[in-house]
């Protein structure tokens, strides 16, 4: 059964590759636009050895992580505050709706002028973009206490601090973890988006440079690297999440 599934998955991937090859050999794809898949694979195998690869990787990875960390530090406490008090929730709802629908990348020109083309600027944009998924998930989590738990806490007159750290926060944690998972994948997308527009070390910069130097296959390879970095970071967070929330999974499974 499992072997069959693997075979089917391989078949779909092979169909994708075959379509690409077919586009190449029939000259339906312009090689300056979509390079032959062989060129992309060989570029992918060689860019690792380039001296600029490691700085680019660390540039994207480091700034993305810094942005997520700042977003979590601001988003979780604010989200708890908003989620726990209905008066705060309704007062901030319009602002939160405005923020979540704002395309953060549009802030880039202003921030470039104010902060300059620096890592701090990239981190700021990533942090703002990651802030909203974390904030929203934390709000959902803090609001979603089961009525029976609320009644129990009230009946036993559990003091506020104890209630916050032992009841509300643990109940919200699975949602916060989801928010961070979304933020991690957003962080790479935004970091690369910034790098493509402005030259601040990262995969986006290398993609753009390769394109300018007419190395389209290398540009494709760098884009793929950015995608893999995003997948790897999300995967790593899922491992952390599984450890952090082991008690929750066990309770949910039981």
């Amino acid at each position: 059964m499992n072997a069959k599934l693997l075979l089917q998955q391989g078949a779909i991937a092979a169909a994708f590759v075959a379509a690409w090859v077919l586009g190449d050999v029939t000259h339906w794809f312009n090689p300056d636009v979509i390079p032959p898949i062989g060129d992309v694979v060989s570029a992918f195998a060689t860019i690792w050895a380039r001296p600029e690869f490691l700085p680019a990787l660390l540039g994207t990875l480091g700034d993305a992580l810094a942005g997520v960390a700042i977003a979590a530090l601001c988003g979780i406490p604010l989200g708890m505050l908003i989620g726990m008090f209905p008066a705060v929730e309704i007062s901030t709802r319009t602002l939160v709706d405005f923020g979540r629908s704002f395309p953060v990348i549009a802030l880039m020109p202003i921030l470039v002028l104010i902060i300059g083309s620096t890592h701090a600027m990239k981190i700021t944009i990533v942090a703002i973009a990651c802030f909203f998924p974390i904030l929203l998930q934390t709000i959902y989590g803090a609001r979603r206490l089961e009525p029976t738990i609320v009644d129990t806490v009230r009946a036993y007159r559990i003091p506020f601090m104890l209630k916050f750290f032992r009841v509300i926060l643990p109940a919200a944690l699975p949602f916060i973890a989801t928010g961070i998972r979304i933020a991690v994948s957003v962080s790479v997308l935004v970091a690369v988006g910034v790098e493509v527009v402005i030259n601040i070390t990262g995969f986006g910069v290398e993609t753009n440079l390769a394109r300018i130097n007419n190395q389209v296959a290398a540009a494709f390879a760098y884009v793929t690297c950015a995608g893999i970095l995003g997948l790897a970071m999300t995967g790593a967070w899922e491992l952390v999440e599984a450890r952090l929330l082991r008690w929750h999974r066990r309770a949910a499974a039981a």
Binding site: Q8, F98, L136, A226
Partner: protein
């Protein structure tokens, strides 16, 4: 009833209004180069909307966005219905789809612009490509989430394939499809702006970027404020549309609690 509505309106809007008013009065007469007063920003915005070509550019940007979104919604829903309905196909396609959707769309903007030139076509292509994924993945989830009782009913009544897709699958997956479109609208806005940072001569993104290159701070702020308003209005309008289209669903599921983001 009316008093309650007024109270709710005040509760929703007092803070944003206070913040904008605070910005207005605190920045009044204290013009700095990087932080022009709100009065000046709005004056510039009004000037460029009424006498400049910002309004026309705004229309072009929105047109690109609408075209890209429309392509993504049609393609994403159709392919999503197909993949979601056939479990074997879904499981086989999952790794390839996961890999493809992890490619950051912003990174391919310069590649596509070079390939397709600087007109509207590459911008529409990029928006469509980026928005395709949220629509596709949500549609697949929506079709998979159809309750087994419904499937059994369809089977028992031997509802033909075309009818099944049109009246059962689309309707049952609609809430999830709409959720996907809501995400796609936010994505489209981002890609619309980025695509106009490159090789463009019209559009709101071009307006902001061009002002930045001239170090024209009030114009840069004005364009950014316009994008913010646009994003809010679009998502508010879509929420209305969603409520109206899915009135039956929200009524149904009220007892089961609301769906998360």
């Amino acid at each position: 009833m009316n008093a309650r509505r007024l109270k709710r309106f005040v509760a929703l809007w007092w803070l944003p209004v206070a913040l904008v008013a605070g910005w207005w009065f605190l920045s009044l007469g204290r013009d700095s180069f990087y932080f022009p007063s709100l009065q000046k920003i709005l004056a510039v915005l009004w000037r460029d909307l009424t006498t400049g070509n910002l309004l026309a550019w705004h229309g072009i940007s929105l047109g690109n966005m609408a075209a890209g979104l429309a392509i993504a919604i049609v393609a994403g829903t159709l392919i999503g219905l197909l993949i979601g309905e056939f479990e074997g196909l879904r499981r086989a396609a999952t790794p390839t789809l996961n890999f493809l959707r992890s490619i950051p769309p912003a990174a391919i903007v310069p590649l596509v612009i070079v390939a397709m030139g600087i007109g509207s076509a590459p911008k529409i292509f990029i928006i469509a490509l980026a928005c395709f994924w949220p629509v596709l993945l949500n549609t697949i989830d929506g079709v998979r989430g159809i309750p087994p009782q419904l499937r059994d009913t369809v089977k028992a009544f031997r509802i033909p394939l075309a009818l099944r897709f049109r009246r059962v699958l689309v309707m049952a997956a609609l809430p999830q499809i709409m959720a996907g479109i809501r995400i796609a609208i936010a994505v489209a806005l981002v890609l619309m702006v980025i695509s106009e940072f490159f090789g463009a001569s019209v559009g709101v993104g071009f307006y902001i970027n061009e002002a930045k290159q001239r170090f024209a701070m009030p114009e840069t702020w004005a364009g950014t404020v316009l994008i913010g308003i646009l994003g809010y209005v679009l998502s508010a309008l879509f929420l209305r549309l969603e409520r109206w289209l899915l009135a039956w669903y929200f009524q149904d599921s009220r007892t089961q609690g609301d769906e998360g983001a």
